[in-house]
């Protein structure tokens, strides 16, 4: 028996918790560790375990703007977790392995570009930090991220919302019934990236059958079409029927078959809080599937508890959803042009962002320059209010990769003008081309 060359970065952070009884605590991957070690998965020829590296603050600031700074908002655990994702990705891009799984915590997919605190158990977006690292150090261009966590990957969506080179697909339990309450079909990307954000809100109770219908009829064809250099799976495991924080009905077999079909280059763990009944089996299934091995015997001992079958109404809803989103995908070029024409020189949105773990409310106004020659530049005015913290505000300019001379200059002028007005506490310019975050 020989696996396809496969790398595993296992980092359970056995000495780190958000708080002692928080779902994101030391115990979370204990039983997963037990199962992986007991199975002997790391003794299979072809499977190689990697140690996470310690990501640097610079790696993090390639994506995030922390207010007042990222350093004071994170712990070493976040740097190890992001470093774990980077280690997995490097093993793949260096062709030491065909694919890799960063089975690490803490998770990251709810962390947005601007960070005031922790939301949905996430402080920094470890996949986004990894993608930025790959683009900077390994010349990776087009990236697809498929988020299979039960919660909408709103952080990842936020970071890549204006980037047509990153396809973000998230299926999740409908936001009307679950945190973070977003991820609806009309969130499809800003005008120049319209269509490269695809949200698939699924009804509570969706089973393997419904999930695989979406996968076969939408996700896989869209991936084929997009032709990414690399496919990343944000591999949350809380769609499992036993998860205490959600209401879906996916099994370990359903997850393993998904991993087999998706053929992700890199998977990164996100949520999943059924730490005894689901995670040991789901992770074993994903590892075997990614390593090209037989996973047919990975079945939860309490599989009889898994709900079976979906209502006809639910099936019809999912079919409609897939049709609608596939239509949108196929007409994205036309829709993008229309949206750009409608917006004029700038596209703008206002949002409230809630940090549930930190008790912070952020109000954000994003303004994106729609430049005919480049990706434009982005300004973000961000104000936050929290219970125990002094209110914080920042004005941020982001100049993306491959920006034109004019946009670079206009972006810099914008932050200097704001600073002159002096309405905000902090001023930043993130120059992705120069790989620099400046505190003005």
């Amino acid at each position: 028996m020989h696996a396809k060359p496969f790398g595993l970065v296992f980092f359970p952070a056995f000495d780190w918790a958000i708080s002692p009884t928080h779902p994101e605590r030391e115990e979370r991957l204990l039983y997963t560790r037990d199962q992986i070690v007991e199975e002997g998965l790391l003794d299979i020829p072809g499977i190689r375990e990697y140690k996470p590296r310690l990501a640097t603050v610079k790696d993090v600031e390639r994506v995030h703007i922390g207010v007042p700074d990222i350093d004071s908002l994170i712990t070493d655990a976040h740097l190890v977790s992001a470093g774990g994702a980077i280690a997995a990705a490097e093993a793949v891009v260096r062709r030491e392995v065909d694919s890799a799984f960063a089975l690490v915590r803490p998770p990251g997919h709810h962390a947005m570009r601007v960070v005031h605190g922790t939301r949905g158990f996430c402080t920094i977006n470890i996949e986004a930090v990894m993608v930025a690292y790959l683009r900077r150090h390994h010349g990776i261009g087009k990236v697809a991220i498929v988020d299979t966590d039960v919660h909408h990957g709103d952080g990842t969506q936020d970071i890549f919302y204006h980037d047509p080179d990153t396809l973000f697909i998230s299926f999740h339990q409908d936001g009307r019934t679950l945190y973070p309450g977003s991820g609806f079909t009309d969130e499809a990307g800003s005008p120049q990236a319209l269509g490269t954000t695809i949200n698939l809100p699924l009804p509570p109770g969706t089973t393997d059958e419904g999930l695989h219908y979406v996968l076969d009829n939408l996700i896989l064809p869209v991936l084929d079409d997009f032709k990414p250099d690399i496919i990343i799976n944000s591999a949350g495991q809380d769609n499992h029927y036993s998860d205490p924080l959600a209401n879906m009905a996916i099994t370990a077999q359903g997850y393993a078959r998904l991993a087999e079909k998706l053929q992700a280059d890199i998977a990164v763990l996100e949520g999943g809080y059924s730490i005894e009944a689901a995670l040991p089996y789901v992770n074993t299934g994903i590892i075997l599937a990614m390593a090209g091995l037989d996973y047919s015997k990975v079945i939860e001992p309490d599989i009889d508890r898994a709900p079976r079958g979906e209502s006809e109404a639910a099936k019809a809803y999912v079919r409609q959803l897939v049709d609608k989103q596939y239509d949108l995908w196929r007409s994205r070029d036309r829709l993008s042009k229309e949206a750009i024409a409608k917006s004029g020189d700038f596209w703008q949105r206002r949002r409230g962002i809630y940090y549930d773990d930190s008790g912070i409310n952020e109000h954000q106004t994003e303004k994106l320059r729609l430049c005919p020659d480049c990706r434009g530049y982005l300004t973000i005015a961000s104000e936050s209010e929290g219970n125990y913290l002094a209110n914080k505000s920042a004005y941020i300019v982001v100049v993306p990769l491959h920006s034109c001379q004019k946009c670079r200059q206009d972006g810099r002028d914008a932050v200097l003008a704001a600073k002159k007005q002096g309405k905000y506490g902090y001023y930043f310019i993130q120059d992705q081309e120069k790989d620099l975050l400046e505190n003005i």
Binding site: D34, E39, G40, P301
Partner: protein, 554 residues
């Protein structure tokens, strides 16, 4: 007075140690078809003129298990597995297994019962098989299924011998325990015959001293214990030499030890005076097992390594064509270079110089060639040490603290043993920029190690206060917890009591005990702490009875 015997690939060495002093040493050729012959020849030589009744212990490091595997002297094992849900390991074990129903989950809870009829059917099909191995997933958390199946097999098949997986190791890794249990049963009969012959030979010589066998982890076990756990006696040669280093040089800080023999150099890294243990068990016949061992790296450089020029460049090893030219060998070797460099004094110096001339570049003198040869050889060992340090640094860790504050190995000295140590170890030390020790008894470090190695024994305690029970896999125990409030310190104490009990059963005295693994987790269900999961593994520390040196107890 201690007698130590190490069966090596070419020679069997024997030593007698008295009060920390090397009293006598002897050497006899190893005969692979009859290991006992070499053992007895070396023993008789070393005991010449010595009153054998004064021996307090005889300890043997032998390749008998390895030989049994290489020479196919194993027997068919009925392998019964209870894998439950998970990976199909049928293709990863040495024999086609019988897969049985029944499952114990990660918490040691029964989620499916084993089925007696399946065992009966397997026994029927295995008619004629005399030895069995039974292994269940998570049996270390609850050995009851392995026990039931073992009982059924005993009733049905009346086997001569049976091994259960949890008895061979208390550590997680079902695949490795299954393989260990298989090999333990496969070599049981062959080892038993050898043990009986050794016993008989001792009686014939009037030796009443207790007999011990060295284990791969550097400890010893009474011969009687080895007869039921022969798999532990695999790969003891390198362990013997590491123990020899401990006895001869008593390293304290960070060190690298080299056992430089005829064709290979075995490298071990030491921290705080203790050799590092391999993260996972040894491989036997290519199969991963749960047999614990020191972490050693072997590189193909030794005294007899062939030296030649390839594309103008000096190349050393890994092959050996014969002994040094100085003693009549066919081609230049590292030992010839050592003789010319004045680092060894055996054989014909003229022939050694001739060997160097054969591989000279232009008008290089033999002395210059010898110096270059030794530099190339030392460089190969140095590179292997650097590689080993890199591997250690890359070893996965599971705590933030260990990633952030992990410290790479930084050996402060080199200790060389083995026949070719005097010539090469100082050069390796020079490359590392550290000091070097080559004890005068370096050539018989292996047999000394066997002579003075202390017995070791371990227990793995796992506590689940939420369910109110604990297990000790190696002892097949699953008991109720004495109290609900239970911490890591209570666990250490409880494990210590069981270790003492296990040692008493095995006839081993408890000396220094160390915790080799400990972890403690709070269990939280629905935002309340419901209990603790504690694992702690204690062992009687591997070590030596006494320091050994020619000047007496150092």
């Amino acid at each position: 007075m201690l007698l130590g015997i190490d069966v090596g690939g070419t020679f069997t060495d024997a030593v007698i140690i008295e009060e920390g002093r090397l009293l006598a040493q002897a050497k006899a050729p190893t005969l692979h078809h009859d290991l006992l012959d070499g053992v007895l020849a070396a023993m008789d030589q070393v005991l010449a003129g010595i009153d054998a009744s004064r021996l307090a212990r005889v300890a043997l490091s032998t390749t008998i298990v390895t030989n049994a595997l290489v020479e196919g002297k194993t027997e068919r094992v009925g392998l019964l597995l209870l894998p439950g849900p998970g990976m199909d390991i049928s293709a990863l074990v040495p024999e086609k297994p019988y897969i049985l129903s029944g499952y114990i989950d990660h918490r040691g809870r029964e989620t499916a019962k084993p089925v007696g009829d399946e065992v009966a059917r397997a026994c029927l099909e295995l008619n004629g098989t005399a030895v069995f191995a039974v292994a269940g997933k998570f049996a270390v958390r609850n050995p009851s299924h392995e026990k039931s199946v073992a009982d059924w097999v005993r009733q049905q098949a009346r086997p001569d011998f049976l091994t259960t997986g949890a008895a061979v190791s208390g550590e997680l890794n079902f695949l490795r325990r299954a393989n260990s249990a298989y090999f333990n049963s496969a070599v049981w009969r062959h080892f038993g015959r050898f043990a009986a012959a050794v016993r008989q030979a001792m009686i014939k010589r009037g030796i009443n001293a207790p007999l011990y066998v060295l284990k791969a982890d550097g400890g010893t076990m009474p011969l009687a214990a080895a007869e039921s756990m022969p798999v532990e006696a695999v790969f003891t040669g390198p362990a013997a030499s590491v123990l020899g280093v401990m006895s001869l040089a008593a390293p304290t800080g960070e060190t690298v030890s080299l056992d430089i023999g005829g064709t290979t150099t075995d490298i071990a890294l030491w921290r705080d005076g203790v050799p590092l243990v391999a993260g996972r068990g040894a491989k036997i016949a290519g199969y991963p097992t749960a047999v614990r061992s020191f972490w050693l790296q072997s590189v193909g450089v030794g005294g007899d390594s062939l030296v030649r020029r390839e594309a103008g460049k000096l190349v050393v090893g890994p092959m050996r064509l014969g002994p040094a030219m100085a003693v009549g060998g066919p081609s230049p070797t590292v030992a010839d270079a050592m003789i010319v460099a004045g680092l060894a004094s055996f054989g014909d110096a003229v022939l050694a110089a001739q060997a160097m001339r054969q591989i000279a570049d232009g008008d290089e003198t033999p002395a210059q060639v010898a110096k270059n040869v030794l530099a190339v050889a030392a460089d190969k060992i140095f590179a292997a040490i650097v590689q080993m340090i890199a591997e250690r640094v890359a070893e996965p860790v599971y705590r933030v603290e260990d990633v952030v504050h992990g410290r790479p190995p930084n050996p402060g000295s080199v200790i060389g043993v083995g026949g070719a140590a005097a010539g090469l170890a100082p050069l390796v030390a020079e490359r590392l920029g550290v000091s070097c020790i080559v004890p005068p008894e370096a050539a018989v470090a292996n047999a000394i190690g066997a002579a003075v190695a202390r017995p070791t024994l371990e227990v793995t305690l796992r506590v689940d206060t939420d369910q109110g029970y604990y297990t000790i896999a190696e002892m097949g125990l699953r008991e109720s917890l004495p109290q609900k409030r239970f911490g890591l310190n209570d666990a250490r104490e409880l494990a210590g009591r069981h270790l003492a009990q296990r040692a008493a059963q095995a006839g081993i005295s408890v000396t220094a005990v160390e915790t080799v693994f400990a972890e403690e987790f709070n269990m939280v269900r629905g935002f309340t702490t419901t209990g603790k999961i504690i694992t702690c593994r204690l062992q009687i520390k591997p070590g030596v009875f006494s320091a050994t040196g020619s000047e007496g107890g150092v």
